[in-house]
């Protein structure tokens, strides 16, 4: 834990205890049920790892962009764009075998990147706030998916805005029998390692970090901040889009617009708790996944409404918002 992390931790423990007491439950009992639901046995643990992977993609997307001083709060929209493209590509060639899976993952990455690039262009070309842009693009992704799947791209027999079911050959391979744990997790971990490499061992990563720490210095040293904004937000969107594609190919096996229920926002908390370091983000994603996957057991056995988890996640983001914990974000114009 970083120095100064004890205060947010204390706030969270007190708030969690207070909320469970308010619900008439024993905080210790609630915590035990939460942990039992998340870690008590191979199946619960596998489900926690599924959540870890789902949180890891958006969290890495947020952390990567934030290292450059850009705030991508549109990971949910990028995951929807990526998931939609993956669902369409994966179902397009039923006889293609594993190629359909690769096509789905590639299409998801590209679509998420395109969705991020829209915000990147707005920031890099026009100097508009990428925060507001990604926020608006979140909603627009959902509306676009709903329009396409309700009209021009409606799947035969579909009752809602969903794509046709993916053929089994386009599913991500399952790692543990009878669980939803798929190749998505190793993929996310490999991505974290790759991002760590890019950040610390490449010229682009150096420029990115320089722009995040001192944009004016980076600009005078010859870094083109406009291109950097475009490239970084595109890459960040691609990471989130790949995440959406893994949810479609690994868990849902078709596109559903609700595939990323707030993971992009929780990803902000995960990225901040992880100190914006890819490997720290991995640990933080596991911690938040415990909260997510244990909450139903806690609700069932300790009678604490599961929404207490969202309450605590919000408090975590709030207490970690201290500027000292963040890189100096370059203000949009």
């Amino acid at each position: 834990m970083k120095r100064g992390a004890w205060l947010p931790a204390l706030v969270l423990v007190l708030a969690g205890a207070g909320a469970t007491l308010l619900a008439g439950a024993n905080p210790l009992n609630a915590a035990v049920e939460l942990l039992r639901g998340a870690l008590g046995g191979p199946q619960p643990l596998a489900e926690t790892l599924v959540q870890t992977a789902s949180l890891l993609f958006p969290a890495l997307a947020v952390a990567f962009a934030l290292r450059a001083g850009f705030f991508n709060i549109g990971a949910d929209g990028q995951a929807v764009a990526g998931g939609l493209a993956a669902g369409l590509a994966g179902a397009a060639w039923p006889g293609a075998g594993t190629a359909a899976l690769l096509a789905a993952l590639a299409a998801g990455t590209l679509a998420g990147g395109a969705w991020g690039a829209l915000a990147g262009a707005l920031r890099g070309r026009f100097g508009g706030s990428e925060v507001i842009a990604t926020l608006m693009l979140n909603v627009l992704a959902g509306l676009l998916a709903s329009y396409l799947l309700g009209g021009p791209l409606r799947a035969p027999g579909a009752t809602g805005p969903e794509t046709a079911a993916l053929p089994e050959s386009a599913w991500l391979p399952v790692l543990l029998p009878d669980s939803r744990l798929t190749l998505a997790l190793p993929l996310a971990l490999a991505l974290a390692v790759a991002l760590q490499f890019v950040l610390t061992r490449t010229v682009y990563g150096f420029e990115l970090r320089a722009a995040g720490k001192a944009p004016e210095v980076a600009r005078r040293a010859g870094v083109d901040l406009g291109s950097l904004a475009f490239g970084t937000l595109t890459l960040s969107g691609a990471i989130a889009g790949l995440g959406g594609a893994t949810i479609v190919t690994g868990i849902l096996h078709r596109f559903d617009p609700a595939l990323s229920p707030g993971y992009g926002f929780i990803g902000i908390a995960v990225a901040l708790v992880g100190g914006l370091e890819p490997l720290g983000v991995v640990l933080a994603a596991f911690a938040f996944a415990i909260l997510q996957s244990g909450s139903l057991t806690m609700q069932a056995f300790a009678h604490v409404p599961k929404d207490v988890v969202a309450l605590l996640e919000g408090l975590a983001i709030l207490t970690l918002a201290s500027r000292r914990a963040l890189v100096a974000r370059a203000p949009a114009r």
Binding site: A19, L22, A23, F71, I73, L122, R125, F126, G127, G128, S129, V131, I132, A133, L135, M136, L137, V139, L140, L143, L144, S146, Y147, G150, G151, G262, F265, I266, I268, A269, L272, P305, D307, V308, V309, A310, L311, L312, E313, G314, L315, A316, I317, L318, T319, L320, A321, S322, R323, R324, L326, R329, P331, A332, R333
Partner: protein
């Protein structure tokens, strides 16, 4: 002919109902942002206002007490944002997103606790048609009032100065941190009233997700309206009219998603500078200790 009159009357009425919460939240956003604090937490403030209003109206049987509680809940969240942004030097966007997640989680938690069944509250005593009409008038009056406050009073000048050049405010012997916190609390109260309208005027209950992104539409109205009370109000009314049109044009073949998308597209166009030279306050989003030259 009579049909046309009836249709336009119902369109105007529906527009007023759809626009009122957007206007209130957008005015709250304008007040906050003119003082230099970006408010992405309008969604959470709407939800908090709606839930507090329903909880208190249900407990006391008095919707007016619910209204007051809703305004206070919004103000409390606004104050947290303002204090986090100033005394705790928090990143305003991160703090605002945290407040959204917190408020929506806390409201869902509260519904499960207070009403004993998760998802939605029971029906509670609401404000009725007269209360609804009064709140619509109050929303428009608030627009005029905020315009007068910002452009015709010393306090308004100081608040705007906090958003343009907080160092100058400090040099003038005033405390920009305090002014910003005040603006955030007052703006939160306005957004909270927007939530009250949703819960006790348009409906008579709280349900999870009932704000349905209206806080972000209101934020789009703030931007499209050029960060001014009258501009944001006009934008919010236009967005409300779009929302009313969706009901009237349900069977017209025009995709409803297109009309739902227009507010967000308008905000993006404004951000890209395609709608003229409206701009955010210069120190919007920056700490009150920053010096701009």
């Amino acid at each position: 002919m009579n049909d046309a009159v009836a249709a336009s009357a119902s369109f105007a009425g529906l527009t007023a109902i759809k626009a009122a919460p957007l206007v209130l939240a957008a005015l709250g956003g304008v007040l906050c942002e003119r003082s230099g604090v970006v408010n992405v937490a309008l969604e959470g403030q709407l939800a908090a206002g709606a839930f507090a209003a329903v909880a208190v109206a249900g407990a006391t049987g008095n919707p007016l007490l619910g209204l007051v509680a809703g305004a206070f809940a919004g103000a409390a969240l606004g104050l947290v944002l303002g204090v986090a942004a100033t005394r705790f030097a928090a990143d305003q966007i991160v703090a605002g997103m945290g407040l959204n997640v917190f408020a929506l989680g806390a409201c869902a938690f509260g519904v499960a606790l207070v009403f004993g069944h998760p998802g939605a509250s029971s029906e509670v005593p609401a404000l009725g048609n007269a209360g609804e009409a009064a709140l619509i008038v109050a929303a428009l009056a608030a627009a005029a009032g905020l315009h007068a406050l910002l452009y015709a009073t010393p306090l308004g000048l100081r608040l705007r100065a906090c958003g343009e050049n907080p160092a100058a405010v400090r040099d003038a012997g005033l405390d920009p941190a305090r002014l910003r916190a005040l603006a955030c609390a007052a703006g939160g109260a306005l957004a909270g009233l927007g939530g009250v309208f949703l819960a006790l005027a348009e409906l008579d209950l709280y349900s999870d997700g009932m704000t349905a992104g209206r806080g972000f539409i209101a934020l789009a109205a703030v931007i499209f309206g050029g960060w001014t009370p009258l501009g944001a109000t006009a934008a919010a009314v236009a967005f409300g009219a779009l929302s009313a049109l969706q009901y009237l044009l349900q069977r017209s073949g025009i995709p409803s998603e297109l009309m739902q998308a227009l507010p967000y597209l308008a905000a993006l166009a404004a951000l890209a500078g395609l709608t003229g030279r409206a701009r955010a306050p210069q120190a919007d989003g920056l700490p009150e200790t920053s010096r701009l030259d």
